[in-house]
Amino acid sequence: MSQTTYLDADELVLNMGPQHPATHGVLRVKLKLDGERVMGTECIIGYLHRGVEKIAENRTYLQFAPYVDRMDYVAAVTNGMGYCEAVEKLLGVELPPRAQFTRMILAELQRIASHLLWLGTHALDLGAMTPVFYTFREREEILKIFENYCGARLTTHAFRIGGLQYDLYDGFEKEVLKFCESFPGRVDEYETLLTTNRIWMERTKNVGVLKAEDAIALAVSGPVLRGSGVNWDIRKALPYEAYDQVEFEVPLGQNGDTYDRYIVRVKEMRQSVRIIRQCVERIAPGPIFGKVGKVIKPPVAEVYHSIEAPKGELGYLVVSDGTTHPYRVRVRPPSFVNLQALDIMSRGHLVADIVAIIGTIDIVLGEVDR
């Protein structure tokens, strides 16, 4: 073995993270560099591993529900919804329409909030300082609605197995509609700042290209998959709640680059507003709880249920042994699976683009590590 010094080395290994503002948490990436070019990456994760799946086996079905909020902590509502639905499916419980539409409204608001957080920080990573102030302003409105509904802003624990814990408060519909009224104009504002911005386009177009076949092979989901042009949205393909009763479009990208994923997410926010409007229209007085016993004791079986979370396919495999405690709960986190595509997306790009590519996958480390 010849002695290598870093001065004449062809390849340089650079460590990025876990303490790095652009990795959105404690992601550590080892970059193999040739000059400024990235030859390969290796993700080192697990810094935030809390053993959520192990905890599930030691809690009852109800007790475990708050824990799921702590996985994707910027989209706690959809996390809780996925878990509740999985257990409901195991029990064979049907929800009353009021509960379904309430869930959909809150879940779509959560999708907007999650995308807003993503948009603000992603733009900040790429040097656009302004959008983050605007997106946080709108996100605050959504968090206020959550707070009025269930008292919490982030880890909401908004739903219970079988329905909702709380009925809607007076003026909920009005508040939501007011948000729907103002929000599309606000999205226009973000688009004015970014969509045709030369710098933004230079930084995102043809960066982090993920071809459709690679996207499917790596099982990425959500906006990352749709940015590559694969028309697959679980709300459409395998509808849950009452998504088969509302109209919306699934925005698609063409090139599978960072810019397309940006466009997909922005369009998704507009579609979410559309869904919320229809849900508010349909929501009618009625029961908010399905027929669930006080003790949740599912039959000996297992189900896999997944929903379209803001970041992609969020699946729960719940295995029951007939007792009050789940035998096993497996969480299929979208961020974890999507992060696998980082390597293929970042090869050949510059170090500065890594920041854009990590941002465009939209990971939350609480969910990657669980």
Binding site: I45, G46, H49, G51, E53, K54, I55, E57, N58, K89, L90, L91, G92, V93, E94, I216, A217, L218, A219, S221, V230, W232, A237, L238, G290, K291, V292, G293, K294, V295, I296, K297, P299, V300, A301, E302, V303, Y304, S306, E313, G315, L317, V319, D321, G322, T323, T324, Y327, R328, R330, R332, F336, V337, L339, Q340, D369, R370
Partner: protein
């Protein structure tokens, strides 16, 4: 969902393979033996009574043993089936024809079909399922494992597949023992790379043919596999914690 009555259930699934007995032991979607399912559903009046019944309207205090008479199954009028039923489909017949003896059992529960396979033919069947004539299951949504320490083969590994063409989900289940190696499906679905690493990390199931089988969430030097049932929730690798974090408890 099938409308079959749930108790007089015939073990119709071909049990021509020896690995059938562990399935019956409880935990998974048992289809053939009706006894364990029944006991879990109605035969536990003690547990049901001690935690209150399934009758929301009665305002009795929930922890009153005599008040609870009904078993805690969902009391919905259109009673959902409480256990898995045998699954039949042209695809299953095709698999059985192509890979005789490989399918242990095929069940469906809540419209979610699951095929139990023998691990020897796993990769070949996966390749077939991925191909066009096998239903084009090109998307491996998830791969994970469940630990049943009392079974002869203690782990069950799940594969959640999805076909864009048929808009259909399919689950595969493979039993694997503690000292056995499972063939890796990374060659079929690259997405399995990290998923299998996680299974290895959490359960200690070794894979054959995995390109990069290392721990993924826990540190490389960690001893033990936390999601095994015999790994206590408070347990940790005390030596690692002491050496790396310089504390005793990890708290």
């Amino acid at each position: 969902m099938a409308d079959e009555p749930k108790l007089p259930h015939q073990p119709a699934v071909p049990g021509d393979t020896p690995a059938k007995s562990p399935v019956a032991e409880g935990g998974g979607t048992t289809s053939s033996p009706s006894a364990p399912v029944k006991s879990a559903e109605v035969g536990q009046p003690k547990a049901a009574a001690s935690e209150g019944g399934a009758q929301p309207p009665t305002p009795v205090a929930p922890a009153k043993p005599p008040a609870a008479a009904a078993p805690p199954k969902p009391p919905a009028p259109p009673k959902p089936p409480v256990k898995a039923e045998p699954w039949t489909s042209p695809l299953l017949d095709e698999i059985k024809k192509k890979f005789p003896g490989a399918v242990v059992e095929a069940v469906t529960f809540r419209n979610q079909p699951t095929i139990n396979l023998l691990k020897e033919s796993l990769v070949a069947i996966c390749e077939f399922l991925k191909s066009e004539e096998g239903g084009a299951y090109r998307y491996l949504a998830d791969e994970t494992a469940v630990d049943y320490p009392k079974r002869e083969k203690r782990f069950e590994v799940f594969y959640v597949l999805y076909s864009f063409k048929a808009n259909h989900r399919l689950r595969l289940r493979v039993a694997v023992g503690d000292d056995e190696k499972l063939p890796s499906v990374v060659s079929v679905w690259p997405a399995a790379n990290w998923l299998e690493r996680e299974v290895f990390d959490m359960f200690g199931i070794a894979y054959d043919g995995h390109p990069d089988l290392r721990r993924i969430l826990l540190p490389d030097e960690w001893v033990g596999h936390p999601l095994r049932k015999d790994y206590d929730i408070l347990r940790q690798d005390a030596a690692w914690v002491k050496a790396n974090l310089h504390i005793e408890s990890g708290q």
